[in-house]
Amino acid sequence: MGVEVRDPELERIRAVLTQVQDPEIPQLSVVDLGIVREVVRDEAGVPVVRITPTYSGCPATALIEFEIRRALDAAGFAEARIETVLSPPWTTDWITEEGRRKLKAAGIAPPAPGERRGALFARDPEVACPRCGSTDTAKVSEFGSTPCKALWRCRSCREPFEYFKCL
């Protein structure tokens, strides 16, 4: 992150970005998801919004850039540039607290920390049901409706739910 000096124009751009929804999970903004990396000025003083893709092939990436462009233009920031950065790669750790709260409210279990890494047949993370809170849950499928989610079910309330995978 660049040095964040108080800059009213950049603050306003950040506020605009909090209103841009993620196309796949519209309850969350692109800021909540950590897709917006930073809002800075380049050497010429032009505002730059740096964004990062979640998964390499996420089909929403192009749409997200489009939506940000549209929101910036509508709010009078037509001169602001959008840049895509790959490194460091996006991680679910960048989902904000607000984002995790909204995920849960939308019936999607937020990523559980302490994820297994690498090992085969390792233990699944402990995932709490976003509806009833029970941790008596089981993975149905490692992959779900979008690249970032897996399918789970709750053994207590019997409801299926989506889990936002740790990456």
Binding site: G57, P89, L120, G144, P147
Partner: protein
């Protein structure tokens, strides 16, 4: 060849491997044995297509002739492709599909794991992103190798046959040619042979747990990554992949 041309060749290989493996997995849409697995294969295919886009875009920039990712993917002819024989192999039965994904993803895990430290910064950035995804693919496909290998008599027989059929194409992955050597000398790419022990260890551990036998290393064909002698399959893959741009050249969304 100049360094720039060698780098172009090298990045094309990375892009083509991801593109063709992704395309192969896409063929299973509507055909996977169960719904959850269909989503899994589609998701994995998407990761690979995404990686292909990043590599091919970069290749186009290196080449500097104005070709973008789409032109490289859709308008090159068979002999201009630079993908390993492994990714060209047909999906076969589900055991073949998973065995190919496992052997190739385990290779990519080592390759990308090295490229993260490449002196070429762009390659390092793409690899860092792709590595996270590939680890997931290794786990998913490896679990299937174990489940089928250590499953019923029939599933064991099929997975053993798939591993034996595909083992033939593992040699090319670790056999460096002039392009690989030049990149290794520049610190841009790895010494391929040095990646093999870690790959072998991972693969053998899974095969053991799957109660499968590791095939012997015999003569193994090459010719995919340098475009010298592709398998017959590649042309058929491209006939589907490139159909639209062949029928309607230059068509855009």
């Amino acid at each position: 060849m100049e360094t720039r041309e060698v780098l172009f060749e090298y990045v094309l290989r990375l892009g083509d491997n991801a593109l063709i493996l992704g395309q192969r997995l896409c063929e299973l849409l509507g055909w996977a044995p169960e719904l959850e697995e269909e989503m899994a294969l589609a998701n994995i295919a998407l990761d690979y297509i995404g990686q292909a886009r990043m590599f091919l875009s970069y290749a186009g920039e290196i080449e500097g002739k104005g070709r973008d990712e789409d032109q490289l993917a859709y308008t090159r002819d068979v002999l201009d492709f630079r993908c390993a024989l492994m990714v060209q192999q047909p999906n076969g039965d589900f055991a073949h599909t998973m065995a190919r994904l496992f052997l190739m993803s385990a290779f990519n895990e080592q390759l990308y794991g090295w490229l993260v430290r490449s002196k070429d910064q762009r390659l390092a950035e793409i690899a860092e992103k792709a590595l996270k995804e590939v680890r997931y693919h290794v786990r998913h496909s490896g679990e299937w190798v174990i489940r089928l290998g250590d499953g019923t008599e029939e599933s064991h027989r099929r997975m053993q046959r798939a591993i034996e059929d595909l083992w033939l194409y593992t040699g090319e992955l670790f056999t460096p040619d002039e392009v690989d050597q030049a990149m290794a000398a520049e610190g841009i790419g790895p010494d391929l042979a040095a990646l093999k022990p870690a790959w072998q260890q991972k693969v053998e551990a899974v095969l053991r747990e799957a109660t499968l036998e590791r095939p012997a290393d015999g003569w193994m064909p090459t010719g995919g990554k340098d475009g010298r002698m592709h398998s017959e399959h590649l042309g058929h893959i491209l006939s589907e992949l490139q159909f639209l741009q062949r029928a309607y050249p230059g068509l855009r969304w």
